[in-house]
């Protein structure tokens, strides 16, 4: 089964980090990806630029409305994601618990929904 692990972090926490702490956190994430890859559990993933760089679009009545920032103001912000290949939810949760920001923020684990095949 495929699961997406959505990593949420308070950006203020990152902003308050020293250069060394930020460097260490990144290295931990690199290590985590390496380990998941060697276990054959890592399918894809990316870290995201902060929400200050986010742009939200909506299309209404054929018109595209562009606004700044993320869709919803939340206490913790989406900071990245992992696409994992796990046997079941228990394994997915166990893998997600090793994602370094789990110690600082939270990681939401969601099963992937397969879209139906294209209508013929």
């Amino acid at each position: 089964m495929k699961y997406v692990a959505l990593v949420y972090l308070q950006e203020s926490l990152i902003n308050a980090m020293s250069e060394q702490e930020w460097h260490d956190l990144n290295q931990q994430c690199v290590g985590c990806v390496e380990k998941l890859t060697s276990q054959g559990k890592y399918l894809a993933g990316e870290a995201l630029q902060p929400t200050t760089d986010a742009t939200t679009i909506r299309v209404r009545d054929g018109e595209t409305v562009v606004s700044d920032g993320p869709f919803a103001e939340t206490k913790e912000q989406l900071a990245g994601f992992y696409l994992l290949d796990a046997r079941d939810l228990n394994e997915a949760l166990q893998l997600a618990s090793h994602i370094p920001p789990a110690h600082l923020g939270s990681v939401e684990v969601r099963p992937v929904r397969e879209l139906p095949p294209k209508d013929s």
Partner: protein
């Protein structure tokens, strides 16, 4: 025994085991439930003519499984996920022996109590699937609308399937954490039965019984200290059931209960479970709480309660769980040992804990201690506050009586 009453009996005692195994074999809660019903219906038809099988449970499982597989075959469009998981061939009879069926019961309770389900859902699902209560009964027990409970259960089953919550007993380090979640659900079921949090009746007899039954089952399947500790705690608390309430529904405090009404058999069993818990590795919160309940059970009268021992047990408890609610209970025990003024000093230190500010028992305890210390005005205020905060009618009446006795 005629077949219909035998089947009634089997349904009561064995249907949960049959269901637990069918869920594993068929990989689907809903289908397992339907297939189990069909298996019982088939037994009612076939057994009078063909005779009762040597191992009725295995017969029901095997028949249920075939019914389930037929159903899957009929659903030509059954989703791929299910087809992959189900072995459609024959399964040897020993696959249904007692130990594998026991394992399935554990798998079922660990699935029903999975922490990825909301706590209310875990309660409803456990009562429905493990205890075999109907949705109506679950709703009545939990004081919720049947439609709400039904919806919770449907959503839970969908999540179990779509998020692939596995049907397994966790191992290693995860077992301890997950067991905690299971025990919490069992104790919540018990407490829902012991004192329904709203409304008139304080004791909803059947839920307390269900929780104790679950506790007994768990202790036989997973003999760990805290499992026995929780069972002991429930038995010892439940032993006072008949003494807790007047016939008119008014509450009677521990101090004033007629101890001859306490159920000696439950106390004996509870004390025995507590001994077992204390001999196993890592007795923790439930075992220590049971040890406190045991001190009350052993005291022939309220005056003979060993408050020194109880305070020491609270000291252990608060090291394991330094929460304000436990500190509150400890303060009350200290007041019994050292007098109300000492207790009031401890309560004053807890006054700012956010968990206690709107907790009626905090204000009720403060009121009782003020009353005993002769601070009538403060006691009156604290009773008023407790009365405003309690949602339980019998509790409200008890507090009201206390308040009236002050004003009299």
């Amino acid at each position: 025994m005629p077949v219909p009453s035998l089947l009634d009996n089997l349904y009561r005692t064995r249907s949960r085991r049959v269901l637990a195994t069918l869920i594993r074999l068929l990989g689907d809660f809903e289908l397992a439930e339907e297939s189990m019903q069909e298996a019982f219906a088939a037994a009612l038809q076939q057994w009078p003519a063909q005779g009762i099988p040597d191992n009725p449970t295995a017969w029901l499982i095997s028949t249920g499984r075939h019914k389930g597989i037929d159903q899957i075959r009929r659903r030509q469009t059954a989703n791929q996920h299910m087809q992959q998981q189900i072995e459609l061939g024959e399964i040897p009879a020993h696959a249904f022996d007692d130990s594998s069926v026991d394992d399935d019961q554990l798998r079922l309770i660990f699935t029903c109590c999975h922490p990825s389900l909301a706590i209310e859902t875990r309660l409803a699902l456990t009562l429905r699937e493990m205890c075999g209560l109907t949705t109506e009964q679950v709703a009545r027990g939990l004081l919720q609308q049947p439609a709400t409970v039904a919806q919770r259960i449907v959503r839970a089953k969908r999540k179990i399937r779509d998020a692939a919550i596995p049907y397994e007993v966790p191992e290693g380090k995860a077992l301890a954490e997950r067991l905690h979640s299971v025990l919490r659900v069992v104790y919540l079921v018990f407490n829902e039965g012991y004192s329904s949090s709203e409304g008139q009746a304080v004791t909803n007899v059947s839920l307390a019984d269900e929780a104790i039954r679950l506790g007994r089952l768990l202790s036989s399947l997973l003999p760990q200290a805290e499992v026995y500790g929780l069972l002991a705690l429930m038995l010892l608390q439940d032993s006072r059931r008949a003494a807790r309430q007047c016939p008119d529904g008014d509450l009677i405090t521990l101090e004033q209960q007629d101890r001859s009404l306490w159920d000696r058999r439950k106390i004996q069993e509870g004390l025995h479970c507590l001994d077992t818990a204390m001999q196993l590795p890592h007795p923790r919160l439930y075992s220590v709480q049971a040890a406190i309940a045991a001190e009350h059970a052993r005291a022939a009268s309220a005056g003979e309660t060993d408050w020194h021992e109880i305070v020491e047990l609270y000291d252990v408890l608060i090291r394991l769980d330094p929460s304000p609610v436990i500190a509150l209970n400890r303060a009350v025990a200290v007041a019994m040992r050292d007098g109300p003024e000492v207790g009031l000093t401890l309560l004053a230190q807890l006054a700012n804990a956010p968990e206690l500010r709107n907790y009626y028992l905090y204000h009720a305890a403060r009121a009782d201690l003020c009353r005993r210390a002769g601070h009538t005005n403060t006691a009156r205020e604290a009773y008023q506050q407790a009365i405003t905060l309690t949602r339980q009618e019998p509790e409200r009446r008890l507090l009201q009586r206390r308040l009236s006795s002050l004003q009299g």
